[in-house]
């Protein structure tokens, strides 16, 4: 229900803004997770999917790039709430995630507290990312929305898949950018945002992370404690590995503006998770 609401809100906000930008989407790529009772369904082919772009059925390209390499951007909360054992648990979780990346895959490391800091730019040298992670220290306020925006816009969109993995254990208390603007910016990005949080003792919830994750078709994983962080980071990796990459050249739809996406399974049963839509810019 909430995902539907988010998609509706995004579509509504998109409708208010005239698309006047240059083209950033020639081929639309949709990363899709199919699960049955929570377990990923593997072995599907392009013919098992049906994709509608603004209601128009699209011809999917035959290649189903399940093994497409990923560029992973780790965006880690290094504010004062992480000081101590949680920081060590977070580093261990980050290391486990990096260990799971494959040859030819890239990673970058952003840390945020009051400032968003690029600790290691996107690189195939995962050892450099690990070393940057070990050097990271914690302290200060939490500028979560600024950090997510920086990760979304830190580089030109390319042909590679991009996964932005955001960890935060607290409430954003310093971002300059309004959370709603960053959620909208996320909907304009090809990247998938994954969230990892630690369950709060009280009812305080950071809604932003859930909203931005839904806008990109990602998932939010909640750790029950800091000891659980490593497992949740590996869940993110599992999600990335289980995604199908569907692609098509949009046909029969308006050139510019917000495009609502609908992904369905044709011959098999399962739950489908994909981004609710994408922005296409006028040439």
């Amino acid at each position: 229900m909430s995902a539907l609401l988010a998609a509706t809100l995004l579509a509504a906000s998109a409708a208010q803004q005239p698309p006047v930008f240059r083209a950033e989407v020639d081929v639309v790529r949709v990363e899709v997770l199919v699960t049955r009772k929570g377990t990923p369904v593997r072995g599907l082919a392009a013919a098992d999917f049906e994709v509608r772009d603004d209601g128009r059925l699209q011809a999917l390209q035959p290649a189903l790039e399940e093994e497409t390499p990923v560029d992973a951007v780790l965006v880690l909360d290094m504010s004062g709430s992480v000081i101590g054992s949680k920081l060590e648990a977070l580093k261990a979780a980050g290391r486990a995630f990096l260990d799971g990346l494959r040859e030819g895959e890239h990673a970058a490391l952003l840390a945020f507290h009051h400032e968003v800091q690029l600790l290691e730019p996107l690189t195939a040298d995962l050892g450099a990312v690990r070393r940057a992670l070990e050097r990271a220290s914690a302290g200060g306020s939490t500028a979560l929305a600024d950090a997510v925006y920086s990760a979304l816009r830190m580089r030109e969109p390319g042909d590679r898949r991009t996964a932005i993995v955001v960890f935060s254990d607290g409430i954003d208390n310093l971002s300059w950018l309004p959370a709603s603007d960053v959620v909208e910016a996320a909907s304009r990005s090809n990247a998938i945002v994954y969230g990892v949080s630690v369950r709060a003792k009280n009812d305080r919830k950071e809604r932003f992370l859930g909203d931005v994750v839904r806008a990109t078709g990602g998932q939010l994983f909640e750790a029950s404690s800091e000891r659980d962080l490593r497992a949740r980071f590996l869940d993110v990796l599992g999600d990335i590995r289980a995604r199908y990459v569907l692609s098509y050249a949009p046909g029969g739809v308006d050139a510019a503006g917000w495009h609502a996406l609908e992904v369905r399974l044709k011959r098999v049963e399962g739950d489908v998770l994909a981004r609710p839509g994408y922005w296409r810019y006028a040439p």
């Binding site: 800091q117 816009r153 409430i171």
Partner: protein, 357 residues
């Protein structure tokens, strides 16, 4: 059996005497001798030992002297040093997120300060051959320093009683009103983040009252004008906020104030649908503070809105590149919620200046 228990339960190293004599030695070291050693020593004292020493000192009120003559006399300046010793340990503990130690020492400091002021007053009233005792720590300055420091450490809830005490000590002081406004505005934000809307509303109203009082007492206090403008902006009262922020942009005391005013004016323009003006204001904010991450991101997002994501990327890249530089001017936005930059440092220096170091 009892002997066996005593042998088993016997502590390892013998702890020194945590009594009034040693307590005063530690405080005297803090005043004139070796403050670092005094700080190390007092941290070894348990909460109950600190409370016992403070209690013993209060019972020895009759021995307080402005200038000690006999060996049994207690130098009032040493008592004031103890007030500041506990305050320093408490503040450091607060910054290190050690709430128990912070409470122990800040309470000891407060208790000693209040009692010593009254004790000095009573001594002056007594027909005494001794020199009258005049406290050197000013009440307004003491509470102001603790309020500004606890706020700077990001603990507005701890800062509020200090700010209220400073306001009681100096009700017609514009700087005190400004500080109180900062504390209440920070509290309002903290409550709002926790969805405590009625508490947030009350704190916001108190902050507005404080900041308006500050401006009434000192119309040239641009920091109060800046913060009142931001407070109104947060409440979406952009029509009221704009002229205040525009005045700070024009007459701000320094680059920091002009930078903050332009950043806030940009948000005002955005909220009022004047996006091109907002973009210009963010550019001007960046001119005033070239290392500002907030202005870069604000400008990036403004350009994205008008020209698409590609327009934002060079600014985001520049923001991240700047974050990797070792030497850069910290963005004033980062510590804006915690009071005017440098206020706590100056306030602490003023109070600690009474020590004969």
């Amino acid at each position: 059996m009892l002997l066996l228990w005593l042998l088993v339960a016997a502590p390892g190293p013998v702890r020194p005497q945590y009594d009034l004599t040693n307590y005063l030695i530690v405080a005297a070291h803090y005043r004139t001798g070796n403050p670092a050693a005094a700080l190390r020593e007092i941290r070894e004292w348990r909460g109950a030992e600190v409370a016992a020493a403070v209690g013993a000192l209060r019972k020895a009120e009759g021995r307080l002297r402005a200038v000690p003559v006999q060996a049994s006399d207690i130098d009032f300046r040493t008592v004031e040093a103890a007030v500041l010793l506990h305050a320093e340990v408490g503040l450091v503990a607060l910054a290190a997120v050690s709430p128990v130690d912070a409470e122990t020492h800040l309470e000891a400091s407060l208790g000693l300060f209040e009692w010593s002021g009254l004790a000095a007053s009573r001594q002056r009233e007594r027909a005494s051959p001794a020199l009258p005792i005049w406290p050197r720590i000013d009440r307004r300055d003491y509470y102001f320093a603790l309020a500004s420091a606890t706020l700077a450490f990001g603990v507005p809830l701890a800062a509020r009683p200090f700010a209220e005490a400073a306001a009681r000590a100096a009700p017609m002081d514009a700087e005190v009103c400004l500080l109180s406004g900062c504390v209440n505005a920070c509290l309002a934000e903290a409550f709002a983040l926790r969805h405590r809307d009625s508490d947030a509303g009350r704190s916001r109203e108190a902050a507005e009252r404080d900041l308006r009082d500050a401006l009434a007492l000192d119309p040239g206090l641009q920091e109060a004008r800046l913060r009142l403008g931001k407070l109104l902006l947060d409440g979406r009262r952009t029509i009221e906020a704009e002229p205040l922020l525009a005045e700070v942009d024009e007459r701000g005391a320094d680059d920091r104030q002009r930078y903050m005013a332009r950043l806030f004016l940009g948000r005002v323009a955005d909220l009022r649908g004047r996006h091109e003006e907002a973009t210009r204001l963010y550019r001007r904010a960046l001119q005033a503070w070239p290392d500002s991450q907030a202005a870069r991101l604000a400008l990036a997002h403004a350009l994205e809105r008008s020209s698409g994501p590609a327009a934002a990327r060079p600014l985001v890249a520049a923001s991240l590149a700047a974050s990797a530089r070792l030497v850069r001017a910290p963005d004033p936005w980062w510590d804006y919620p915690f009071g005017p930059r440098g206020l706590a440092t100056a306030a602490l220096a003023r109070v600690w200046g009474v020590l004969d170091r």
